[in-house]
Subunit: 364 residues, 2 copies
């Protein structure tokens, strides 16, 4: 499918855009959305940009019953020159196809999907907020729409991209959070869907999250589902620990999501010649390092927060106060570097930035 | 909420009903559906029976992204006297609320939901097919509809009931199937969502099912996600083995769905004074029993098939041929007894049948 096969149907009048300082996450959506349908034997077809609108879907559609969904999350940033730019979008589309494979959803053409995202972002460029730390969140997702109650892969899907202007994650600068190690619930397990970005993983996480939030914790830290010993993720981010001068992060094992920010953090640390090791990390090891005074930093890494320092980690009855509850030096440097690259305020030595070309209405 | 608070809006002309011998599973739906909304502070409200119709839902609705869904499955049967009747529907609604709790969905009023189902079935009584083995499948489900991309329990939901006339599961009488023991993928794990009837569990199962179907197997047998030793379920059914005169089934452990048919099988076996034990059952034990000539029967139990005898069980490179590939005596007796009770052809000593009272259009 070529670039020209995206049909565009513009809305007549745009919605009012929220003030930059009033922005929340994922509550307001732009004027248009991208949709493409899948059916057999056509495959993916009828790619179109249309006014943002409700979906009309049969109540027997599989998505409502058997959770066959995948999604991605990335952002468009405004550079000081006023350019719209994306951060490693091809990684998100590669992962979308890996998720598709696990969920028995037909693959998408990654190049075409990236082109569709860029055209949609270009069309909605005025929706990218320009205050410090704000961005336009991009949510590509695929839902199974066949009206059939049999438990089987759907024969019909919709690939949709919606956009939402989002506020700064840290209103008052990067700030450490309290995290509780989860001992009862598990997010997923080896052989499950943990490395896929699919709805069921998030549905499974809600209960644990709700319980710790009641006790004042921001997120849970997930342990592995088998031995309940090894660290997997924190909330919906990957997690890093600096122990005795060395940064460690759980190795990908099939149940950990392969984060784009995780990958970028690892590349940056290597670039800076800071030791970074991907391996199994047990909670016992982190606790022992803390007791020995060697746990120097802990932080999460993900698209929403970029870097989220952990100031307190609670494990059973133990409270680990990390770096005196302050943001660590490496977390701060990673946060500053990543956001400055994302916003085009710093050189991009890795080729991570994908500029979105301007389009005039006449060329759409 | 009282009985009278269900608003009814009938369609003007009904759809054509399919011939009984042409019925498939879950492809055709009746003329009407039940819907009830949840929002705060109203709670569950606006219960209504309306013409079967597509849902109009925002693309940012949580159900499309984070899989916060639950569902149930039960059937309405036509008795020889022409009465519509349900089989233990209160067990499905109890389980729906247990699933709700795990998925952070607000509970429903079980009595009211049962009343709603009965009124919908009464209204659609002519859709219950009357050929041998056919029934009207009832699908209650709840979806999270808040238009918000934050990972948190939705503040808005829809509880919906749709009905689908379904054909006989066994077109040519009860017949054993081939099952493959799954060694790579897992369905869920202790601490996960396995005992909830939620979309993600089914999404997770598709890949394994697709792979074994290519090799001619009907379903997979799931092992536990931790040791990969203990038997959990078969496909989307519970599983029973008759070993040396004694029936065993995996004990409920948090990752096994508590099936209504499972519970009924256990009650029937006890009623017949056949030894039935709920405990951990390892695949090694089943294999050893087979080698020793003591594995007399194996069968699945669930709403769709009622009882599904297992004629061949493949574990790694071993093929276990059970009862010479024939339906076992106990499987047959359970199937006959359960279906005869369900269809009102046999006495119901357990009080399992709930009659659906006739309604005239003037009383709706």
């Amino acid at each position: 499918m070529g670039n020209n096969s995206i049909q565009v149907n513009l809305c007549s009048t745009g919605k009012e855009k929220p003030e930059s300082d009033q922005l929340q996450f994922g509550r307001v959506f732009t004027d248009h959305m991208f949709i493409m349908d899948y059916s057999q034997p056509e495959g993916w077809h009828d790619a179109r940009i249309v006014p943002y609108q409700p979906l009309t879907i049969d109540p027997s559609s599989m998505v409502f019953h058997y959770g066959q969904t995948v999604f991605e999350g990335l952002k468009a940033y405004l550079s000081p020159e006023g350019d719209a730019q994306l951060f490693r979008p091809e990684k998100n589309l590669e992962r979308l196809n890996r998720s598709n494979d696990r969920l028995c959803i037909p693959p998408i053409d990654e190049d075409f999907a990236l082109e569709a995202i860029k055209r949609l972002v270009a069309l909605e460029k005025e929706w990218i907020p320009d205050s410090e730390g704000t961005s336009l969140y991009i949510r590509p997702f695929i839902i199974s729409t066949e009206p059939y109650l049999g438990v089987a892969p759907s024969q019909q899907y919709k690939f949709i991209v919606i956009l939402s202007p989002v506020g700064a994650y840290y209103k008052e600068g990067i700030n450490p959070v309290k995290i509780a190690v989860e001992n009862n619930f598990v997010r997923t397990v080896t052989g499950g869907t943990g490395e896929a970005k699919t709805g069921g993983n998030y549905a499974a996480s809600l209960k644990a999250q709700e319980l710790v939030a009641n006790s004042g914790y921001a997120q849970v830290l997930w342990l592995d589902g088998i031995e309940r010993k090894y660290i997997e993720e924190v909330g919906s981010m990957n997690v890093f620990f600096k122990i005795n001068g060395e940064v460690v992060t759980p190795a990908l094992n099939g149940s950990i999501l392969e984060g784009v920010t995780r990958n970028s953090v690892i590349q940056l640390l290597k670039h800076w010649n800071i030791p970074i090791i991907e391996r199994k990390v047990s909670m016992e090891e982190v606790y022992q390092a803390y007791k020995d005074g060697l746990l120097e930093e802990a932080f999460g890494a993900g698209t929403a927060a970029v870097i989220s320092p952990i100031g307190q980690l609670t494990w059973k009855l133990e409270h680990l106060f990390i770096n005196n509850g302050k943001t660590g030096e490496i977390a701060k440097k990673l946060y500053d570097t990543l956001t400055e690259i994302q916003y085009g305020k710093q050189e991009d030595p890795f080729g991570w930035i994908e500029k979105v070309k301007e389009i005039s209405n006449s060329t759409i």
